[in-house]
Symmetry: C2
Subunit: 333 residues, 2 copies
């Protein structure tokens, strides 16, 4: 048995921008497995924008990440020791063990069995995990686009946005992405099949969005906020829906204002913030549909992989700046 | 028969702030009544914040008010001549004849019969008219507050806000108003029966709101936007609802940004813009309920009355600055 569990702790809170100094790599003993417990070797960590909010000590939908404890996060891996009849060594599982190499489940109920014959393990942190269900929920339960309507998705090449747009294409919508740089935009249109993609770094955000949405915009899946949301608000049709999933533009620093909120009124929009973990009923149908669409090739995905636990902090900071391309994971083994 | 119909036209669009120079008083002949038509002598004009938006030539939920035509608006008055079997001289009617002394209905179908034995005519421009139904719709169909929840209402002494708060009290909510100045706040708590009222002019908006909402805020009926909305967003409980009815803070000038829109996400809020005229199904139940509550004294109302058509522009500009106290009307006769 291994006897060292490398972990990354949050050791200080960002004043404004997060930095690698907020984290520390430590070594702890691999836990001893007690009655009913399950020990998992993590193969991949998930890095997600929501983690930035947890680094702050402010009121939010979840309590802040405690200092000097293992940074939270989703993981996938393999059971290596079990004293629980529900789980056997070799089982592949998704869990929430955070930024460490080994995780101990107290009773096995926080583990989700995954099938690495159907898709690679890391996919269960992305399209077949929390980001995929997030996309499915926001699109189907909030945006509710009809055939032929125009849907705009920000962070379009990312873990959530890429799934949103592909699901909307399956529904027969016109889908316009917003992404950073020509390479991501090409991927969004050529590989993911969006109808158009606006490069927010090109300096013509509103003009390009207007050209890409000749019939206006009926639904928005918002992952970013900031200038992109300001622009799309000006293109909304009456009775449009905005699923507010992420506001990454303001996560790592000061809040970013919304320039013209009165447009919500004049266009009679619905804006709904949501957190997918509060909608457990959505997970089974979402995962069934996503599994089928991944299998038949209608939903594609892409990953940015960082290697080694020690590189998690830098990969996370890169994610906040849009340096990732697709779902950001950290490979541990 | 009278032969002069005084009218106020919109003759120019505001560059930034509206002014009396945007309007012109003219005299036109009283229209001749043709077959099927109904001539109404207007007794009261309604002045409402939405009219400011119509003065601009920008995309909104309604086309702009055309230049050199009678300024739009709700009216109540009396039929003085009818060549329509549905209407007889002496009938009291609500209509949409705008800022003029006489209005001609082409077929009588745009008139709503009102009963001046049940309430004074002017009430049909306020609590028993569009503002009352607006309050009822936003509270019952969007805010949906439960017994014991906290509801915040801005422009609390105004035509809409005063009704919202009283309806919410009937439902057993804790109701907190926001209004400008101690006199309005006293009216809101002492006469209308709100639990508290925050004076936004006192310079302690957030602190006073916090003190008045010890259990946070579950629902907001927003008539104003700006600093009040920023403050209340910081007090929202998870899954709160915001009915966006008006954004008067930004109507007469530049748009007012929302400082921290990410709070919509972190608190998983629903924000819904609405225009009551698009929900005709709400009018009959709303007017039934409001009629009963006015009759039994559970809903009180107050008016600011300007006298004479020529004073409508100045009264309207005052409304935009919060100089009115309750529903603003113009008495013509």
């Amino acid at each position: 048995m291994p006897n060292v569990n490398r972990q990354i702790l949050l050791v200080s809170r960002p004043q404004d921008h997060a930095s690698v100094d907020n984290f520390r790599l430590v070594e702890a003993p691999v836990p001893t497995v007690g009655d009913g417990q399950v020990l998992v070797r993590n193969h991949y960590l998930s890095l997600d924008p929501y983690m930035r909010g947890r680094m702050n000590d402010t009121k939010s939908y979840a309590p802040p990440q405690p200092l000097n404890q293992v940074m939270i996060g989703g993981t996938v891996g393999e059971v290596i020791e079990s004293r629980n009849p529900q789980w056997r060594p070799g089982d592949k599982v998704a869990g929430l063990f955070g930024w460490q190499e080994y995780g101990l489940s107290a009773d096995g109920r926080d583990l989700r069995k995954v099938d690495d014959a159907l898709a690679p393990l890391s996919a269960y942190l992305g399209v077949l995990g929390m980001p995929g269900v997030t996309a499915w929920y926001g699109l189907n339960r909030i945006c509710e686009p009809k055939f032929g309507q125009t849907v705009v998705v920000s962070a379009a090449s990312g873990a959530v946005g890429s799934v949103v747009g592909q699901l909307a294409k399956v529904k027969g919508c016109r889908v316009v992405g917003i992404a950073g740089g020509p390479e991501k935009c090409r991927y969004v249109t050529e590989t993911l099949g969006f109808d158009a993609c606006v490069d927010y770094k090109a300096g013509r955000l509103y003009e390009d969005l207007k050209a890409a949405t000749p019939d206006g915009v009926d639904a928005v899946f918002e992952n970013v906020g900031g200038a992109g949301l300001d622009a799309v608000l000006r293109r909304m049709n009456a009775f449009g829906r905005i699923a507010l999933c992420g506001m990454i533009a303001g996560y790592d620093g000061q809040p970013v204002p919304l320039q013209a909120p009165a447009l919500i009124l004049t266009n009679r929009l619905l804006v709904q913030g949501f957190i997918v973990s509060e909608h457990p009923d959505a997970w089974p149908p979402a995962l069934r549909e996503l599994g089928a669409l991944v299998a038949n090739g209608h939903v594609k995905y892409r990953e940015s992989v960082a290697y080694g636990l020690e590189n998690a902090p830098e990969a996370f900071l890169g994610l906040l700046q849009g340096k990732n391309f697709g779902k950001q994971v950290v490979k541990l083994i």
